[in-house]
């Protein structure tokens, strides 16, 4: 029997193995933004609540690197994240929020219940900023340096263990 006859069977078993291995791997749902290391696109959003100013690209220029937090009052992980944002604010980090598809009264309600770490909150009713910066869900948090360049993307809610990471990225963005 010619040994070459075993090649197709070998290939088949190899593909079976690859498929089997991939099935046991956890599903990766995260879509990294291709905008990291690029300039934050121009945007200007009206205020999401009456008591606070809206947000635009100009707000990120100058001073220290800031966080851009994309969230929504209807998003459950955003509630879990609120405490960590307060900690970051306590460390002197300026956080500019953008509320996605949200109503002013819901935003106000959320801030009252879960705290308000933001200096400004923009209102994005058609996810336009999300699409501009390559975000695929809420919450997402971006480190923006003083020149308006996106330096780092955090996908999903910020947990306790992510705080040192973000502080480090903010420090890196100073240079």
């Amino acid at each position: 029997m010619r040994w070459t006859l075993w090649i197709p069977l070998g290939l088949f078993v190899f593909f079976l193995g690859v498929a089997g291995y991939q099935l046991t791997q956890p599903k990766d749902d995260q879509i990294p933004s291709a905008m990291v290391e690029k300039a934050l696109p121009e945007f200007e959003l009206p205020a999401a609540v009456e008591t606070m100013p809206g947000a635009s690209r100009a707000n990120f220029i100058g001073g220290k690197p800031k966080l851009l937090n994309i969230w929504a009052s209807w998003c459950l992980p955003c509630i879990a994240e609120a405490k960590q944002l307060e900690v970051l604010e306590g460390q002197g980090v300026e956080i500019i929020g953008v509320a996605i598809r949200d109503k002013p009264e819901d935003v106000a309600n959320f801030l009252e219940r879960y705290g308000n770490p933001y200096t400004r909150i923009g209102k994005d009713d058609i996810s336009s900023l999300m699409l501009e910066i390559g975000a695929s869900g809420v919450p997402e948090t971006y480190v923006i340096d003083a020149e308006g360049v996106i330096r780092y993307q955090h996908i999903g809610d910020i947990r306790l263990e992510h705080i040192p990471l973000l502080l480090e990225e903010l420090k890196k963005a100073e240079t």
Partner: protein
């Protein structure tokens, strides 16, 4: 049987719940103007549909934005339609999204540094198959030339 299917459903949903995916979270705002409204110009709308069918919904990753009812897919349709109405080319809109999300957002296959084997390997396999076929057929013909007999049952089959 019923208990089994419920157990199965729970087994499928439990990992989702652990990932913290907000399955039920929905906003209460009305959809974007062009999310469910067609463009008035039928030619432009046809272009929009063709493009939307090849763009991936980012929150429901196995669907295109034309099929999906996710709010974000609606917002993406709004972008596509309003940009087409403003005179942008469909391929420019696709590129606008690829710049932001990478190739992942487009269902239209493109040859790139990571995808070229997908195009090359089938061509090689096809070529190999042709080669094999010609060698087999060629051998059979030269076998037949030497003998002046009526076709055997094997050859006529």
């Amino acid at each position: 049987m019923r208990a089994l299917s419920i157990a199965l459903l729970a087994a499928v949903l439990a990992p989702l719940a652990m990932l913290g995916v907000p399955l039920t979270a929905q906003d209460s705002l009305p959809p974007a103007p062009y999310a469910y409204t067609q463009l008035e110009d039928p030619a432009l709308e046809a272009q929009a549909v063709e493009l939307m069918a090849t763009l991936r919904c980012l929150t429901c990753q196995s669907q295109n934005i034309h099929d999906s009812d996710a709010p974000m897919a609606g917002d993406m349709r709004h972008q596509v339609r309003s940009r087409l109405a403003a005179g942008e080319e469909p391929e420019a809109i696709r590129q606008w999204l690829i710049v932001r999300y990478g190739d992942y957002v487009s269902y239209q296959p493109e040859v790139s540094s990571t995808t070229w084997p997908l195009f090359l390997v089938p061509a090689i396999i096809f070529g190999f198959g042709l080669l094999l076929l010609f060698r087999r057929l060629g051998r059979k013909r030269s076998d037949g030339e030497g003998t002046d007999r009526a076709p055997t049952s094997e050859e006529s089959a």
